[in-house]
């Protein structure tokens, strides 16, 4: 069975300011992954690792002057090869996206219901009144009380949790086959975060869409993802089914990330740390981008970029030091 989305050699690069023509900085440096129909892929990484840019590339929204190359095989055709008009039809329809900060991601001067209706007008051929009517139903479906009243409300009149629910309703309004959620719970309190994660799981079970769930928080991702990829400085360093990743992380970075998280069960005097600072995309040119922070790194790691190796079925690691 072919997966719903298959990304191959995705590269997002930005021209370097003041540098010679043609010189560019890879924010996403040739990554590949796949998401199966109805599956949830967790994308984990720290700031600047390229996880958000990957999402924008999937939406065809890489901000200029950035460029995205590679193949984005979605439901049988390459998104990157399609016309701007086809891109427009894909966005919000086949692929929808929700963002980290629902306050700013919603149009502050438009009633929420109207914003949801817009998706249905754009993608489902509804008239505005029909759309507005359906929007109420959508709000109800994402667990908002008195949805008719909320549909007329402006974003600032809703609480943070409600806004993110509305955002989800808006994303689902186009009946997408893939939902990209970029740090959807980061701005929320833990109690609300739990509610939203529950909601997304529930909706996925009901509707069957695939989700690409992006977060810096491994713990949150662990609650929802079937498969996980870990990104560092524009590359995928490890990819595995969720249970396997947590049970047996192989990349030093993944291991470090898990180890540095404080744990309720075992309280340590000192947390293990990953030394150094988060690398930018151009770090360690030519070699492993994590080498500078890695305890295992040797000359070989700095000389060549480690290729991804499948150590076990479905478990790929890009590290010379990871034993098979």
């Amino acid at each position: 069975m072919t997966p719903l989305l298959e990304v191959a050699d995705l590269r997002v690069c930005f021209p370097v300011r003041g540098a010679a023509r043609g010189q560019a900085r890879d924010v996403v440096a040739g990554i590949g992954y796949a998401i199966g129909e109805g599956r949830t892929l967790g994308v984990v990484g720290e700031s600047g690792c390229g996880k958000s840019m990957t999402a924008l590339a999937l939406m065809g929204l890489v901000p200029p002057p950035g460029r995205s190359t590679g193949t984005l095989n979605f439901a049988g055709h390459d998104l990157n090869a399609q016309s701007p008009e086809a891109w427009r039809r894909t966005r919000g329809g086949q692929i929808a996206m929700i963002f980290q900060e629902p306050m700013t991601a919603l149009n502050p001067v438009m009633p929420v219901g109207h914003q949801i209706a817009e998706v249905m007008v754009l993608h489902r051929g509804m008239s505005w009144p029909e759309g507005e009517q359906h929007a109420v139903g959508m709000l109800e479906a994402v667990g908002i009380n008195s949805p008719a009243e909320r549909a007329r409300a402006y974003p600032h009149q809703l609480s943070g949790g409600m806004r993110q629910r509305a955002m989800i309703a808006m994303a689902l309004a186009g009946e997408p086959r893939l939902l990209i959620a970029d740090e959807p719970t980061t701005a929320l309190d833990v109690t609300i975060q739990a509610q939203i994660v529950d909601l997304m799981r529930e909706l996925q079970e009901r509707i069957g869409m695939a989700i690409q769930f992006i977060s810096h928080n491994l713990a949150v991702v662990s609650e929802i993802a079937h498969d996980i990829i870990v990104m560092y400085a524009g590359r995928i360093v490890e990819a595995a089914p969720a249970e396997q990743l947590f049970a047996d992380p192989r990349h030093p970075y993944t291991r470090g990330l898990i180890a540095t998280l404080p744990d309720f069960e075992h309280r340590l005097a000192r947390l293990p740390v990953i030394p150094g600072v988060v690398a930018s995309a151009e770090a360690g040119a030519g070699g492993c981008r994590f080498a500078d922070r890695c305890a295992l790194a040797d000359a070989g790691c700095r000389a060549a970029e480690p290729p991804a190796r499948e150590l076990q079925p479905g478990h790929c690691v890009a590290c010379f030091k990871a034993a098979p």
């Binding site: 720290e46 491994l218 404080p262 309720f264 990953i274």
Partner: protein, 318 residues
């Protein structure tokens, strides 16, 4: 033993909608309501709660950045007033969440760090320079950091600068208002370790404001849980994490995502914190409380001892 800082019946209220010449009706927002709390010498106390629960407001009160509307504040047993604050101000420093906004971009690090000393005025330039150099080393910044400017540093390093600045007047207490939440995961643990190390070396007390219970569990001695400006539970770390007495504390703990332990579905509390402009009557938590009964809607629960080192404001604790 007298506590280092003691809050007695502290309330902070804001007047909303103050009009001008032809003003309109005012409304009162209670950011903190009759909070009693103490931080001991060298102790780490966490303030936790959802956003809007009043944790930062209380932190500001302790740091002297916000005058309480009612109640009193004691420092080493002495009532703090305008005169006594002068001394206490040196002893209580604050570190903010956003290491980007908190540092003056036009000042070199050497000046930023010793700014509290300069304001105090009792140190010579040479003394200040020596102190700056020592602090930079203590917080694990490279030596050459002194002559550089904040924008040249990463987020984690900036938070180290902010911590160094807080340390410069040798405080007894540092109010740390979400010091980690703007940092990358891998950097959080570095800063967390640093804070612990500094505490051991300098005998510091921390008032640690956070929404991250995992971090709180790692760092602190005692935890105070706030909901809608009210203290709902205060307990030692062991007691709180082992057997939370207030349903809100329990809900918070249940909501924390953990690796390797799928959170049981439906164990989260529903709803959201109501507006502090219109707090519910009785126990403010009752609209979201799974245990709520008629009494909770009518009667404000007192913060009573429920076990050794543990107090909870709930009619039906446990």
């Amino acid at each position: 033993m007298t506590p280092l800082v003691e809050l007695q019946d502290i309330s902070v209220r804001f007047e909303i909608g103050a009009g001008g010449l032809f003003g309109r009706a005012r409304r009162t927002l209670a950011a903190a309501e009759r909070v009693c709390l103490a931080v001991g010498e060298g102790e780490t106390l966490a303030l936790v709660g959802e956003s809007g629960s009043g944790k930062s407001t209380l932190g500001n009160v302790v740091a002297g950045l916000q005058a309480p509307s009612a109640g009193s504040l004691r420092f080493r047993g002495r009532l703090l007033d305008a005169a006594t604050w002068r001394e206490a101000r040196r002893a209580i420093q604050i570190v903010f969440q956003d290491p980007f906004g908190a540092l003056d971009p036009r000042m070199p690090v050497s000046e930023i760090i010793v700014e509290p000393l300069r304001i105090q005025g009792s140190f010579s330039a040479a003394e200040r320079a020596a102190r700056a150099a020592a602090l930079v080393e203590q917080v694990g910044l490279p030596k050459d950091a002194l002559n550089r400017y904040p924008h040249e540093f990463s987020g984690g390093q900036r938070q180290r600068i902010a911590i160094a600045r807080a340390l410069s007047p040798r405080p007894a207490l540092i109010v740390a208002d979400e010091p980690l939440s703007a940092l990358d995961v891998s950097i959080q643990s570095q800063v967390l370790n640093l804070m612990k190390e500094l505490q051991e070396r300098n005998g510091l007390a921390y008032l640690f404001i956070s929404h991250d219970l995992a971090v709180v569990h790692h760092l602190v001695d005692r935890v105070a849980v706030l909901y809608l400006g009210r203290l709902v539970e205060v307990a030692t770390r062991e007691a709180l994490f082992a057997h939370p007495q207030h349903p809100y504390t329990r809900a918070l703990l249940d909501s924390v995502p953990r690796i390797g332990r799928r959170r049981p579905r439906g164990r989260t509390i529903g709803g959201e914190m109501p507006s502090p402009l219109a707090p519910p009557p009785g126990c403010v938590f009752h609209p979201r409380c799974p245990k709520a009964q008629a009494r909770c809607r009518a009667e404000v629960p007192a913060l009573d001892e429920t076990g050794p080192g543990q107090r909870a404001a709930c009619h039906f604790p446990g």
